[in-house]
Symmetry: D2
Subunit: 167 residues, 4 copies
């Protein structure tokens, strides 16, 4: 089976830099023959899906509502849940690794739920928002060893290494 | 976007006839350029995935556990949820239409949750189990107009017609 | 710990007879020092909560939306979920036994999800809707032994007996 | 209806100070005629339930498994979900306000999910773990106005003020 990588990150007020990072990560996910899972909406999610589709990758969007029109135009499989924000748990539960770019409280919930389920998490350096906050923090009580950092261009490689190591 | 069709049905003690029905339905889903969603495990689910893969279709398995090894070998995208039986709700929430073959209480929960969310449901004639029970029943209080019947060979066509009609 | 009994049943177009049944069952739940869990809204749910409150019982309403105003006025603890119909799974997952009165597809989903989780289910005789449909049916493939019947006045006693037997 | 306050916090390796804080908060919840909701297990959850029961309060435990034996001995209503860590979303979705004491990634997921749903969150000062991490951080991108701080002895009063203000 192909590895599944979740990309989580901000939807609104996302910088152009973060958007570019997400698009690059989406491309790398597809080029490495992995499946992209995300929340299916805008911002970092759309950019990652766009990148993956440029390289002919498969994109899964796990949506909060029951309306598939909520999905961005680069989602191949829109999965409507009707669970609201609780769907955040499913975005990460289905991934072998999680990559975070920018983001606010929604992204923070996805990172922390991924850590609850012992998924490896790669925070993309220099991407602002919650991601940057966690990177700067020296004391991350209880989860230092499951949080990893990488540049945007090396994030997918890092995620794949972690999956191989079983971390 | 491609239509998404869920196939629900029994996992254990499923007759060979029902397995053959499910495989045929899986084939037709792929041949009609639709995406197959199911619970990702054995019995009717495996047979439908097998059929879809024979025709190069995309198969999504929404799994109860957090272990992707639970998926049958014909699932392309195993989505692990950790929700147990509550994942039944998500199998149908993400579908444009639901086709039921055989099955027990799990299948009954999926059919009824699909009806709660106003999804069209096609019961495959002559397939025993819960599906047959509902078909035989003349009085289906409150949901007669959303439950439809078709032979296994016409079930996907029926589902597609219902999706087009917006039923 | 006190036993928890879920009452499931119709919300709309419920007969006066079923409402009276539900109120009596709610009273008996409180009189037997049990906790009532339900979906927290109208119809059978409101009547059961009303009965339980008449006898000073504790009523828990597990609501589909995030708005506690959705709860009926006899719910002591409104638990808002934001899960939509998927909350049906939680109404029964938290109960030691389930009593069904009348109802449509929502009730059918609750009965079947309870059976998936091996909870004993008591169908109230003579209460119409889905409950009556299941009672009339001679062949209930795979779950005959977990579905039980009782009159409204004996339903709580039956549920308590089943809990004690570990069925 | 009585206000519902969720207490979230660490389960393992929790300091005695945090345990004492949680017990005091549980007492105050009961003394202010509020209902306590929590994850139902050990550590901060048990201490909060213990405190609430000392003052005759009502305690609801929303459990990850389907086994009510998982609940601590001070839980009056154990609600089993079978959702695993996804139940974290429900602990906070049902609360009018959330108080955090100590904790790791599970607590972080509950705080962030509460913020996603616009619930006021009170972080208890001087309680270590994730709670302290968030308090120390000057830049909390996008959620500064919904996160509040209070000493353990004033946390419930702060939560009640926030509920009244509709924040």
């Amino acid at each position: 089976m192909k590895p599944i990588i979740a990309v989580v990150g901000g939807e609104k007020s996302v910088s152009l830099k973060s958007i570019n990072y997400a698009e690059k990560i989406g491309q790398d996910i597809a080029l490495n023959d992995c499946i992209l899972v995300c929340g299916g909406r805008g911002g970092v999610m759309r950019a990652a899906c766009k990148g993956a589709r440029q390289k002919n990758g498969l994109t899964i969007g796990i949506l909060p509502s029951l309306d598939k029109k909520e999905a961005n135009e680069h989602v191949v499989v829109p999965l409507t849940t009707g669970l609201g924000n609780t769907r955040n748990a499913l975005v990460v539960s289905s991934a072998d690794a999680v990559i975070a770019v920018d983001g606010g409280v929604g992204t923070l919930s996805e990172i922390s739920l991924a850590l609850c389920n012992n998924k490896p998490v790669v925070l993309v350096e220099n991407s602002s928002g919650v991601t940057d906050l966690l990177l700067k923090e020296k004391e991350k009580p209880g989860f230092e060893d499951r949080i990893h950092r990488a540049s945007a261009s090396k994030a997918v490689k890092k995620a794949l290494d972690l999956i191989l190591e079983g971390k």
